[in-house]
């Protein structure tokens, strides 16, 4: 029988994949992808919790997460475009302008 733990472990694994992406990649677009993965892993966890506890709150959260993710993509992509126009690259190593 598939239990809550299964889903949570799956969610954790997906989160770890997204996490690897975040720390490994230098391209901003790839970072966005990785972020999406992490968000989705969280959504799975919420939906699973919702299902196993018979409580809609988890779904509500997942729902709002999707809304936030959508906004993030909209704004984030806009920013990426501006950045690309300005610097011609999306590589983080070339964008380091805030050196302390």
């Amino acid at each position: 029988m598939i239990g809550l733990s299964h889903y949570l472990i799956l969610s954790g694994l997906l989160f770890a994949i997204g996490f690897v992406g975040v720390i490994r990649r230098r391209n901003l677009l790839m970072l966005f992808f990785a972020t999406e993965i992490m968000l989705n892993s969280a959504n799975i966890a919420f939906a699973a919790a919702s299902y196993y506890y018979h409580d809609l709150t988890g779904q509500m959260f997942a729902f709002f997460i999707i809304a936030v993710a959508a906004s993030e993509v909209a704004v984030g992509l806009g920013l990426l475009i501006v950045l690309y126009k300005k610097f011609g690259t999306l590589d983080l190593d070339d964008l380091a302008s805030m050196k302390g």
Partner: protein, 184 residues
């Protein structure tokens, strides 16, 4: 039984697809595999009885977000392989592995007991979409509206940011001119 098969199948596929996303050098592959992974995740939602969420997932992610990414990619000349120095792989996999390990340990451990009380129990005999609607438009009305406004704002922001100086052709003007104009 079907449920188990579906779960493991979907899991393996999702993990694989997302790994491709994360590790692929080609941005197009990455995006495609991401889109596929999203579809599979909506499958999980359906399995979990969150029909409405699954539909939203399909529409928003696979439909809207992926479309946005696809359009954005056109700006960035995405067909060629990305040349980037990746962070030291040993470190990455150590950290990633640790995170995975931790999460698995935490979630697998039986300490998180099951005594959580449902605040908004699923109403029996009511469809998921209907139930979601009931909660969403009563208890979560204000957050919902706020989310709506946020999306609107995000949309406008996206248009403004991306749409600035759309009349300039990126291919004819070189970067210097643009950056100079930006600083004006």
């Amino acid at each position: 039984m079907y449920e188990q098969i579906a779960f493991y199948l979907f899991s393996v596929l999702t993990i694989g697809l997302f790994l491709v996303t994360v590790l692929s050098k080609n941005i197009l592959y990455a995006m495609t595999s991401l889109a596929a992974g999203m579809v599979l995740i909506s499958g999980f939602f359906f399995m979990l009885g969150a029909d409405f969420l699954g539909v939203v997932q399909l529409i928003v992610y696979v439909g809207a977000v992926m479309a946005l990414y696809a359009f954005a990619m056109m700006f960035f000349d995405a067909t060629r392989d990305i040349k980037e120095k990746t962070t030291n792989d040993a470190l990455v996999f150590f950290l990633g592995g640790m995170v995975a390990l931790m999460l698995v340990i935490i979630f697998a451990a039986p300490v998180f007991s099951e005594n959580i009380q449902a605040m908004y129990p699923v109403v029996e005999g009511v469809g998921n979409a209907q139930a979601v609607g009931l909660v969403l438009f009563t208890k979560y009305l204000v957050p919902f509206e706020v989310a709506a406004v946020m999306l609107l704002v995000a949309m406008i922001a996206g248009i403004i940011l991306a749409g600035k100086k759309m009349d300039h052709s990126l291919t004819t003007n070189d970067d210097k001119v643009i950056s100079q104009e930006d600083t004006k």
